[in-house]
């Protein structure tokens, strides 16, 4: 399997993602945001970080960069695209997944481990998953997922909610919601389920000696 990780000015999880993909057998290439062409890939990853210093709105500038035209075409033709953290923000700003990510409800940068619940394994990203609750790491200031009521109805009708923030037993409620996201949403698919955006960082959970291995399921 071939993958490409896009590096934007201000991306800082791009090399972690490279390490994770390589560890699990991907032939990964790093692609600069100003390039026009994507290398032949089975998976494109938009990594975490602070592209363009989070100016204007997180991800808004990066979503207009040259390479994104190719990424959008790749996604529209059915290619797998994953956006993590700032990559998720870039995905919503480019319109590849619905909604938007607002400032965290309590205005604090959150950096901690959380549990997430996976509801829908009928897709390429989670098809090999053998447990429902995973432990991931989050680190963000703007992860408060928001969408209009019409959009929410549509994403629920289409089973587009990928993961929810929950406690270690898989219960989702307001107390466990770290950032104020609607319905505890931590990650979301596009309608066709070939594009996944999520705030948690699976690439930080690939080694028991670091923090855990639940991220391995992705790679």
């Amino acid at each position: 399997m071939k993958s490409s990780v896009i590096t934007f000015p201000g991306s800082n999880c791009d090399r972690d993602m490279d390490v994770a993909l390589t560890k699990f057998g991907f032939k990964n290439k790093m692609v600069w945001h100003n390039d026009q062409e994507l290398p032949k890939s089975d998976l494109i990853v938009l990594p975490g970080g602070f592209s363009y210093g989070d100016y204007l709105r997180c991800g808004s500038m990066a979503s207009k960069s040259k390479i994104m035209h190719s990424v959008i075409n790749f996604a529209k033709s059915g290619g797998l695209v994953m956006g993590i953290c700032n990559g998720f923000q870039i995905l919503v700003e480019s319109g590849l997944v619905p909604g938007v990510l607002l400032r965290n409800k309590y205005l604090q940068f959150i950096c901690k481990n959380v549990h997430v619940k996976v509801d829908n394994i009928d897709n390429t990203f989670f098809k090999n998953l053998d447990k429902k609750v995973l432990e991931f790491h989050i680190a963000h200031n703007e992860g408060n997922y928001f969408c209009t009521n019409d959009q929410l109805k549509e994403i629920e009708d289409n089973n587009q909610i990928a993961i929810y923030y929950c406690d270690q037993n898989g219960n989702t409620n307001d107390q466990i919601n770290p950032n104020g996201s609607i319905k505890n949403i931590a990650g979301i698919f596009n309608k066709e389920k070939n594009v996944l955006g999520m705030m948690p960082h699976p690439e930080r959970m690939i080694d028991q000696s670091l923090s855990g291995e639940d991220g391995s399921i992705f790679f």
């Binding site: 204007l56 709105r57 808004s60 207009k64 700003e93 909604g99 938007v100 607002l102 400032r103 965290n104 409800k105 309590y106 205005l107 408060n144 928001f146 969408c147 209009t148 959009q151 104020g180």
Partner: protein, 80 residues
Amino acid sequence: MKVSAVITLKKDVLDPQGKVIHETLGGMGFNSVNEVRQGKYFEIDVKENDPKKAKDLVEEMCKRLLANLVIENYKIIETK
């Protein structure tokens, strides 16, 4: 020609920064505030002398980059 645009959050969107500013104002003795909503203001100097065309251009910028229409409204407030 200079065109200004104001971007504001839509009514139903939570604005935690506005809320904190409201509370701080209350703490400073400004007790008559009902609500504070924080927005963005842009002054854009465009190479265009026709006010209508300049306004249209900035409107296009608002739609495509400056505002996220899921959560924000834009208003072009003055041209000079």
